[in-house]
Amino acid sequence: MSQEHRPRRRGGAIGRISARVYVGLVLFFLFAPLVIVVVVSFNSTPNMNLHGGFSLRWYRQIAGDPLVVAAFGRTALAAICTALISAALGLSGALGAVRLAKGRWRTAVFTIPLVPLAFPALLFGVGLATFYHSMGIGFSIWAVIAGHVILALPFVFLVMGAALERFRFSLLEAARDLGAGTLTIFRTVTLPLLRPALLGAMFLSMAISVDEFVIAFFTAGSQQTLPLVLYGRINLGVNPGLNAIGSVLLVITMALAFLAARTSVLELP
């Protein structure tokens, strides 16, 4: 962050008050649904308002539901695999991209991986479905993971790209001067120094994978992830049990996002 003077307060008191009100309203709008989902999930009665007493019955219920538990396991598996694969590919790509001299190639390599970010999931989902179908590959959690990696790659690339921008490459020269080979340099200098950013990117990938719905919808087949279970049961009617599932998803993704922010901020000097 460059040196910033503290910016002068602009506008009068009325402006500031209405600004706070506005920000408050927007944040309320963004968070209220999430808060309500979590609160209602602790309802002791099966209705959807906030009047019920506190109870964990719905969590007990989904914990005892084999379908939910299996889906949870698959979601966790998908998240971890997505994180590992996208981290490896993203790190490799970023390390390669950063060596390119400025020019057309460099711009291309830095923008093309970002395309899946803006690309509609529906298109990608049906594209994957047709692809698997044409190759005779069955739908499964692995099919989902393969798709999730594509979605996570841009994020990993961005995070690692930013970290490499700040990286002191002269340290690698010093290591080489002291006799280290390429692999040793990577193992003892590059990787340890990139670890915070890499961890952050992995948490981010996990968060994206856990929450992801559309790709999973088209490629999971019978091996449903947790969002798919939630989706399937919505059509059976709304009840706090679903809120429990939703809360679990919610808390996990937000925790992962939080972890991602924290680990990538903890940089070594």
Partner: protein, 306 residues
């Protein structure tokens, strides 16, 4: 004593030692390629190729809940000329535009306040917005579905405060519900690019404008706005593309009269198993979106240039 500027015993030009091949440079190029290869291969294999396959499938022939590899243009004719589909398009477009415009407006105001009105809370507020982004996609849709229902919190609230006497049934299964849920999900996505564009404007620049006598409004209009158009365009494009391809929100929050193009695609893939037609609709959808955005941004460029 006389000095010259000669150099230590320099031999004549034509006896220079030979040029050495640069083994090191070649090694470096090879390792760069090696590093870029795995993600590049993966990207092509699992992103580009599926889209190509989708394109190929869009030319297949359909009959009886099955399709064959016989090539035809039938799907595209249908995709481009079906009147029912046109209705879907108009409906989707209407909402996509509305949502995108609202998101840009709301996000811009939010980002502006963060940067210039409440800068001391900037970091915390931005962090909160980012976190809310990860609050889930399906979970939010589900949340609104339960909140807007007859015995959902919204109705309970309205009744308990005596604004209405009996629950509103029309909150759900409506465009209103769809829009609300989309806004809920897209506003954080809109704040991101606009905020980072604003971050890149040096405060010195604004001080210079102020020093030259510009009022706050003029500064925003003549300096901040032009420099953040890229962020605004990105936010608009994100929202527009996302909404045009939406199908979950209409399915869960809209009624039979509120379905999007995306739902039709889903129908072809899921119900009738007419994958070729679904593929054709999907591809024409993305083409349409690109064309519309292209025209829109082109017009914008013309307008801002004048």
């Amino acid at each position: 004593m006389t000095l010259t500027t000669g150099v230590l015993g320099r031999p004549a030009e034509d006896t220079l030692p030979p040029l050495r091949h640069r083994a090191k440079a070649r090694r470096e190029h090879a390792s760069t390629a090696l590093l870029l290869a795995p993600p590049a291969v993966y990207f092509v294999l699992l992103f580009v190729v599926p889209l190509v396959v989708l394109l190929v499938y869009s030319f297949y022939t359909y009959s009886d809940f099955n399709f064959t590899a016989k090539l035809t243009l039938e799907n595209y004719t249908q995709a481009l000329t079906s009147p029912a589909l046109r209705d879907f398009y108009f409906r989707t477009l209407k909402i996509a535009f509305a949502v995108s415009i609202i998101v840009v407006a709301v996000s811009y105001a939010f980002a502006h306040i963060l940067m210039y009105v409440l800068p001391q809370a900037k970091r915390v507020l931005y962090f909160l917005v980012l976190v809310s982004l990860f609050g889930g996609y399906l979970v939010r849709i589900y949340a609104w579905r339960s909140m807007l229902g007859r015995d959902g919190v919204v109705n309970s609230f309205l009744i308990s405060t005596h604004i209405i006497s009996s629950p509103l049934g029309s909150l759900l299964n409506s465009n209103f519900a769809i829009v609300i849920a989309l806004l809920n999900f897209l506003i954080p996505l809109g704040v991101l690019p606009i905020f980072s564009a604003m971050q890149n404007i040096s405060p010195r620049l604004l001080e210079a404008a102020e020093d030259l006598g510009a009022s706050r409004i003029r500064i925003v209009r003549t300096i901040v706005l032009p420099l953040t158009t890229r962020g605004i365009r990105a936010a608009f494009a994100f929202c527009f593309i996302a909404t045009m391809a939406e199908w979950v929100t209409p399915q869960l929050l809209g009624g039979p009269l509120n379905q999007f193009v995306g739902n039709q695609i889903l129908y072809e893939f899921g119900e009738t198993l007419n994958w070729p037609l679904g593929a054709a609709i999907a591809l024409t959808l993305i083409a349409t979106v690109i064309v519309i955005l292209g025209i829109l941004f082109g017009l914008l460029r013309l307008v801002t240039r004048s």
